[in-house]
Amino acid sequence: MKRISAGSLLAVFVLMSMFALAGCPKKAEVSSTPEAQKVTPAPAAPAEDQAAKEAEAKKAAEAEAARKAEEERLAREREAAAKAAEGLKPIHFDFDQAVIRSDAKDVMKANAAWLKSHGKAKVSIEGNCDERGTIEYNQALGQRRAAAAKKYLVDLGISAKRISLISYGKEKPVCSESTEECWQKNRRDDFIPAE
């Protein structure tokens, strides 16, 4: 019996040691030899990786060309805006609303008349919002404002095929002060003649 107990105790001791080791993985792994780890950079930012750096000169030239193209595009836009100013006029909205106001109805009728007299012209209606409101919700609101103007033009007999919509949300303010006067200018639909 004594012999059996001794054997059991030995087994218990051995097993307990095993479990003690298994139960403390953190301590077991911390040896006097440090664990080595190679630190790699965060995934390269795609626009600024190695290849991009090698092609820097080429890129600079491209950037310059793009800048010129952008300037030309802006000039065309200004021209278009000036052209629009002759005929197509913006309309304005109440805060968080996409209803065509009564003061906008005459403008819409004039816009429809201009489109009728320029039968080949297409128009892009750009919905805009003031700075109050979140980026994403304002994009949706701008879309509704543009869609409301499109419906109005279609009701006045303009073909829906001639009208495209884009919402800029609060990204294209024409006025940057935080006043009601300024906000009113920004809550608008622009009508841009398109090819």
Partner: protein, 432 residues
């Protein structure tokens, strides 16, 4: 004898099965975030300069202490105030560590910078202040440029030792800036360092969103003269169009643990929330509201989505099942509640709430109870998002004039600005 031994063995195995999980979880001091959790007192004994570069040494020490402080888990003590002396080139003796323990320190960290071959090596050690036992022993190999990242990795290792969770020191924040005159996408380290430009669309980029594995960013760009959804592979730089229907393709949000994403499209008229594959395929419409439905954010278990809707007459937050069923409104206070983001811990939703004409950051429980406004003061605070640990909130704010990116603790304390004041910085998205 055989039977006796067999019984003993069975009992031992049973004991082990019961004890092991307890032993494993007992190593972690903080399992969950609680409002009043006591922080763990820790000290960085020294960052010993064995690399002949005092500048690198002081940078590494500063980054390590800042990382530990920013983790919101530690109370980082000053070794000088505690009269703890630097042990020099060799790691501190158990007696020196235990001396820290007598001052109430739970953790004692020590590190050394050295050079091996062409590599810069950060040797980081962590000790238990009470027993003097070494808890972590790591060598990080890199170079001078990678030093911040090496230190971030060590800081996350320390956080892992005490919480069992990944730290946030290696995470990054994607954002939008008009630095070049056009709104482009950028990414920076979680502490505002190393900003890098990601796009050159020369148009308007907005609303970056990380996939849950951190490999992809989805974002909105007007580069094709329409707000389209794009994907960007952060490893290869590959870009692709996810969704380009005429009209809105906006506010993307990747589903947790999945390659599908929710977004708002106006292809059927109003802005409605859809789920799609990362190539825009397998489109499933979730909302059929009469008004705008935008800005979806997933519950961490993927079963529910919180979003902004104007269906009640003003923008408010609603929660629905991920199949579009069981819609319920969760915000009733305030005229305008929008931009929700569901905590990775699941327990709260952070959003922007209009208070006296300006947006402030607020949180609410997913059942609509316990709404709290966290920020105050001048300017508007928008587009809030949780850190992956759920212990911090990043947001944009115009409190200092131009829009900047700020980080604060989940309770609204400790606001810190991450971006300079040279341009507008907005729409922050914290990587997993």
């Amino acid at each position: 004898m055989f039977n006796f031994m067999k019984r003993t063995l069975t009992i031992l195995i049973l004991c082990a099965l019961i004890i092991l999980p307890v032993a494993a979880s007992a190593q972690f001091y903080l399992g969950v975030i609680t409002g009043e959790a006591r922080k763990i007192p820790i000290v960085v004994l020294d960052m010993y300069d064995d690399a002949g570069s005092p500048q690198l040494r002081s940078l590494a020490l500063d980054v390590l202490q800042s990382d530990l402080r920013r983790s919101q888990i530690f109370d980082v003590m000053d070794p000088k105030k505690l009269d703890l002396l630097s042990p020099g080139k060799n790691e501190p003796s158990p007696e020196a560590v235990k001396r820290g323990g007598t001052f109430g320190l739970t953790g004692v960290a020590w590190a050394r910078l050295s050079r091996k071959g062409g590599d810069l090596v950060l040797s980081g050690k962590l000790y238990d202040g009470v027993t003097g036992l070494r808890l972590a022993n790591k060598d990080y190999y890199g170079n001078d440029e990678l030093l911040r990242r090496m230190v971030h990795t060590f800081a996350d290792e320390i956080v892992m030792q005490y919480t069992g969770e990944r730290g946030i020191a290696q995470t990054r924040i994607a954002f939008v800036s008009d630095k070049t005159g056009k709104k482009e996408l950028y990414v920076m380290d979680y502490d505002g360092q190393n900003p890098k430009k990601l796009t050159a669309d020369r148009s308007i980029c907005m609303s970056p969103a990380w996939s849950s594995d951190g490999k992809f960013l989805a974002y909105v760009s007007y580069k094709d003269r329409n707000p389209d959804l794009f994907g960007l592979d952060m490893e290869t730089g590959r870009r692709w169009k996810i969704s380009g229907f005429e009209g809105l393709n906006i506010s993307p949000a990747w589903a947790p643990g999945s390659k599908r994403l929710a977004a708002s499209l106006s292809r059927d008229g109003g802005a409605e929330i859809y789920i799609m594959n990362k190539d825009g395929g397998d489109l499933e419409r979730l909302t059929f509201g009469l008004s705008d439905n935008v800005a979806p954010s997933w519950a961490p278990n993927g079963r529910e989505i919180v979003f902004t809707s104007g269906r009640g007459g003003s923008p408010q937050l609603y929660v629905m099942s991920s199949d579009g069923a069981d819609i319920r409104r969760i915000t009733f206070d305030g005229p305008y509640n929008a931009s929700p983001n569901w905590s990775p811990r699941g327990d709260r939703i952070v959003f922007a709430s209009q208070v006296q004409g300006r947006f402030k950051i607020a949180t609410v429980k997913p059942d609509g109870s316990e709404m709290q406004i966290l920020t105050s003061g001048p300017g508007s605070d928008e587009n809030p998002m949780w850190s992956p640990s759920g212990r911090q909130i990043v947001f944009s704010s115009t409190r200092a004039g131009k829009s900047g990116i700020y980080v604060m603790n989940a309770d609204g304390s400790g606001i810190e600005r991450l971006t300079p004041n040279d341009a507008n910085y907005l729409s922050p998205a914290w990587s997993p």
